[in-house]
Symmetry: C2
Subunit: 245 residues, 2 copies
């Protein structure tokens, strides 16, 4: 199905909902990030299951905010499920405690981290074949311009589209305006995982036929109603943490 008749959550409302989840909703950032990252990993597993021999190399691009944290959590679950993730996390979050812990968890799982954008670009263009590139660079609070080294990276991904592994974007395709869509760079993801509810730019993604999933199943019926997204949150089936839209 497409996004016809389904409401999206503007960048402004998404920020408000997030804030409300943690204030009156009483969720901790640890909880929300764990559930969001887990759903990202499960959506990836459904769409791109790993090879049995553990050789499915996934490059996870991690930004400086919560979107990046979701990517760190997803990397850990992917590793436990048989993928071979590699993390590029050049700008550390200011939430040192939380993000430091997420990174330590990955180290304990032997998930390697690469250090430079040059190394990331080398991985993306091979000769080691990547199965997937996970884009957890920017989320719903993204505002242009894109700063270094992410400008270089997004340009590289955009220019090499079609010639590199499929890109899976978390919540929004990084570099896109949350509400209106592509700006200077267009990384053309093959898959988008909307968290809690699609953002307006997801309609543009969906119209191009990519695989669109919803994750982040933790919104109470009361909040869903308040934000007018009950039609979306009611799409989940059984105990699934993700649903293909």
């Amino acid at each position: 199905m497409g996004l016809q008749g389904i409401r999206a959550l503007s960048s402004k409302l998404a920020a408000q909902l997030d804030e409300e989840l943690m204030s009156t909703g009483a969720f901790s950032i640890d909880q929300l990030m764990e559930l969001a990252g887990l759903s990202v990993a499960q959506a990836i597993y459904r769409q791109y299951p790993p090879k049995q021999d553990g050789s499915s190399k996934v490059l996870v691009l991690v930004g400086p905010g919560n979107n990046g944290g979701d990517g760190l959590v997803a990397s850990r679950h992917l590793k436990l499920w048989g993928y071979d993730p590699v993390v590029y996390y050049p700008k550390k979050s200011s939430r040192i405690d939380l993000y430091g812990r997420l990174v330590t968890q990955l180290k304990d799982m032997d998930v390697p981290e690469i250090d430079s954008v040059e190394e990331a670009k080398r991985l993306i263009k091979g000769p080691t074949l990547l199965e997937l590139i996970v884009d957890s660079l920017f989320g719903f609070s993204f505002k242009p311009p894109v700063r270094a080294p992410f400008d270089d990276l997004l340009r590289f991904l955009s220019e090499n589209h079609g010639d590199i592994a499929p890109v899976v974007s978390v919540d929004i395709p990084s570099g896109w305006d949350v509400d209106s869509g592509p700006l200077e760079y267009d990384i053309k993801p093959s898959m988008l995982i909307s968290l809690t509810a699609p953002k307006p730019c997801a309609a543009k993604f969906a119209s191009e036929g990519g695989a669109h999933y919803l994750g982040g199943r933790f919104i109470s019926p009361r909040l869903a109603e308040k934000y007018n997204i009950s039609d979306i949150t009611s799409l989940y089936k059984k105990d699934n943490l993700v649903v293909k839209l």
Copy 2:
């Protein structure tokens, strides 16, 4: 399959592993409890799926420690998936922040809380038919004696076994000695969800033919090897958070 040849984790080693997960493993209690409680809820969904009309009433008995926290988290997910949970949580944890938030999350989902052991007993024997009783009273750090009001509750569950809804125990059947099995009370659960690895008393449960699940899929291969539970943690399939043993 049974537990033949599978190592169990003694109460002492389980406490040590838990401590190590949070120190060198760098997990927060919020993360671990969310993943553990989520796996409890998913195991329940597999074994006792809810009726389609939302009428599957589940009484969740919540103890004062981490086992209780797992029950609070599980209640929230069960509610989102179509069950009708009711929580009995008489002795609040000393971790006021974390547990207070878990309780607020349930309130926001309209999960009712009952206040007295008499009310819990009325529900258990009640004219309202319960589908399930979730026992998240005591976990691997349990040491007798059982104190009020839990003594009354465990006696009631034990005496009415066979005449009440199935009991699902989280990690250990409450009232049992973690390593050796039944003591003064035996609530005879129909289902046991071992977290991270079975505790020694799970062998006694498994020998009686109950449904035995494993959840809490967050142990790194390195930790699993150190605690000699790799044979257990390798039983998970695909991206599943639980496995039936």
